[in-house]
């Protein structure tokens, strides 16, 4: 279980670093965001101003360490401050609304992309020498190099603008009532293009990784032994080849799950999808520091946790790790 303990330790330490970075970066950057803040807040009543200052930690009368302490305390209480651009909504509330959209869209898309990509990768490796395999690999090398926000633009242009099959953006048609079937369908319809963008551009990585892993595994002796033993092809393909080949991918998958939260930013921007990414971008544009900090922290935490889950998954799947750790 040393492996497990190590991973938990790493998780906690990384969380700590993320939180600390989040605290110190704004205070270390050139330019004075605090002053910007003050300048903007010209017409606001004094109490609110005080609240903002406190939320942002602009109370620089306290020594730095004390500020840091207060910051940590606030975090534990769940108080992330008040959003400036959406004053007086607390940051936590903004996140609460945005997170489901991001997780829903990106999460689904990433999972689909992983499964499709892995399966295609296995297939392409198994039938290596066919024209179809070479073509598929070549195609995805090319597609993978598209900047994926650009891919989104392309999809919008062709499938929403030229031929208006899909909507141009947003997560749902605003007039519809929540909870109805129509609403649900509208959500799905709005999610298709952004999801497609993500799936197309990220599938390539899985295909190539899985293909490489499979090819390496297929050259191993235990595959030859399995064939000699006369095992059915399906069993060789799954329990002997794929199960070994997928191990390196799992870590990658978990890492990408982490990026679910952060990486969707561009897609959300292009599609005006009201998720965490878009919030971050808008926060940056309007210099809404509390919101920015909170989102960044949220993303970091999500990534770290996802990573940790990946490590645990490897623990479960690979008997070698269970015993000694790599």
């Amino acid at each position: 279980m040393a492996y497990f303990a190590r991973k938990i330790g790493l998780l906690l330490f990384a969380l700590f670093v993320a939180v600390t970075l989040n605290f110190f970066i704004p205070r270390m950057m050139p330019g004075d965001p605090a002053q910007d803040l003050m300048d903007k807040m010209q017409g606001i009543p004094l109490e609110s101003l005080e609240a903002i200052k406190a939320a942002f930690g602009v109370d620089s009368t306290d020594p730095l360490l004390l500020q840091y302490g207060k910051y940590l305390l606030n975090l534990i209480k769940g108080d992330l401050g008040i959003s400036i651009s959406r004053f007086p909504t607390p940051v936590g509330r903004v996140l609460q609304v945005a997170v489901p959209w991001t997780v829903g869209l990106m999460g689904t898309a990433t999972i689909i992309s992983f499964f499709l990509g892995t399966i295609i990768g296995i297939g392409v490796a198994w039938k290596r020498n066919t024209k179809l395999a070479s073509f598929t690999v070549g195609l995805f090398i090319f597609v993978r190099s598209f900047p994926y926000f650009w891919l989104g633009l392309l999809l919008i242009y062709f499938l929403a603008f030229r031929i208006p099959i899909f909507p141009l953006g947003n997560a749902y048609t605003p007039q519809l009532e929540r909870g109805t079937l129509e609403f649900f369908l509208s959500v799905v319809k709005h999610a298709i293009l952004p999801a497609l963008t993500i799936v197309i551009s990220s599938m390539g990585a899985w295909i190539l990784t899985m293909r490489n892993n499979m090819i390496n595994v297929l050259a191993e002796d235990y595959i030859t032994v399995a064939e000699a033993k006369g095992l059915p092809l399906r069993r060789i393909k799954t329990l002997y080849a794929a199960k070994n080949a997928i191990l390196p991918s799992i870590t990658g998958f978990a890492m990408s799950l982490g990026f679910v939260v952060g990486g969707g930013l561009l897609t959300e921007m292009v599609f005006s999808y009201p998720g965490v990414g878009l919030m971050l971008y808008q926060a940056v544009q309007s210099k809404d520091y509390p919101l920015m900090q909170a989102i960044f922290l949220f993303i970091s935490v999500a990534v770290l946790v996802a990573n940790f889950i990946a490590d645990i998954a490897v623990l479960i799947l690979d008997p070698r790790v269970r015993d000694g750790g790599k």
């Binding site: 330490f13 650009w150 940056v284 210099k287």
Partner: protein, 325 residues
């Protein structure tokens, strides 16, 4: 040994295609002023000619509008000569035509010239950042992998931690806070957020090489660490280092385009990313100006493909199992 690797590389068809694409864009970048028909930022063309010699002061003799875009002005300047300046304003938002191979932007700038000049920045940022990242990663990897112990623990710890911090949000947040905008900050930001991954990859290779017999023999024989690192370990990692370099460069090109697209770089510099930024901000998509946002994306994809192909070739060379049978 280099020659062997080189010739193997050239023979591989994938690598060849990748190399050709890269060479093409490099040539375009280097010879940009000769290839681009217009200045990328201007929206007019001025042709100045001398009409006759005369003595007098500056005075507009005549002004003629030839068509909605072109105006001719004849004027004299003191003591010397009479000039004729024909100013042709470039059409706004024009579709591709003979004069403008890729059309024009909403502000009347020739897109073909922009793409040509943009190649310089895009390639330069990509290659420099890739080089910077790879060198940094390699150094850290060699130090951590070879010396092991506490040094390794510390470096690995930081690598692992920074590895997990998502780079795009980090880049955006940093870019939002800094006030100096430009190409150099972008290179720095990109470099500082992308070093962890290659460091980890290279380090594990260093460690596995370090434990191979031929290195252990050298250590027992008492060879100096510098010798072992540079003459025994490093030469066996060349293919991996090259692959890292290609990957980092590609990531940098994408990253640059992304940051510029978000408007976080210097939007008055012409690069493929800024072209996309202006395209998006001028509503190119919704006004159907496909010639504005299509070329940058396609070119980025082409360069990306070229690096990916070369990476593939390197994989195949160093891992014979991957070669076509």
């Amino acid at each position: 040994m280099f020659r062997d690797v080189f010739s193997l590389f050239i023979e591989n068809r994938k690598a060849l295609i990748g190399l050709i694409i890269l060479a093409f864009f490099s040539i375009v970048a280097i010879f940009a002023p000769l290839i681009a028909p217009y200045d990328p930022k201007t929206n007019k063309v001025e042709v100045l000619s001398i009409v006759e010699e005369e003595i007098g002061r500056t005075k507009t003799v005549e002004r003629e509008e030839i068509d909605e875009f072109t105006e001719k002005r004849v004027y004299t300047q003191s003591i010397t000569t009479t000039y004729e300046k024909v100013t042709t304003k470039l059409p706004l938002n024009a579709k591709p035509s003979r004069n403008h191979l890729l059309g024009t932007t909403r502000a009347g700038q020739d897109l073909f010239s922009q793409m040509v000049y943009g190649t310089r920045i895009t390639l330069a940022v990509g290659l420099i950042t890739g080089l910077f990242t790879t060198l940094l990663a390699l150094t850290l990897a060699l130090v951590a992998g070879y010396f092991g112990g506490i040094v390794d623990d510390i470096i690995s710890l930081f690598t692992n931690v920074f590895l997990v911090i998502p780079s795009l949000p980090l880049m955006i947040v940093i870019a939002a806070y800094i006030t100096v905008k430009g190409v150099i900050p972008i290179v720095l930001i990109l470099g500082l957020t992308s070093w962890p991954w290659p460091t980890r990859v290279l380090r594990s290779q260093v460690v596995s090489l370090k434990n191979r017999d031929f290195v252990r023999v050298s250590r027992i024989l008492g060879e100096r660490p510098l010798y072992i690192v540079f003459r025994e370990i490093l030469p066996n990692m060349i293919s991996l280092v090259m692959a890292s370099f290609f990957t980092s460069t590609m990531a940098a090109i994408m990253g640059e385009a992304t940051l510029e697209f978000l408007g976080l770089g210097n939007v008055s510099v012409v690069s493929w990313g800024t072209i996309l930024y202006w395209a998006q901000n001028s509503g190119a998509l919704l006004s159907g100006a496909w010639w504005w946002f299509l070329p940058p994306g396609i070119c980025i994809a082409l360069i990306g493909t070229s690096f990916a192909l070369m990476n593939f070739a390197i994989d195949e060379i160093s891992n014979p199992k991957l070669r076509k049978r």
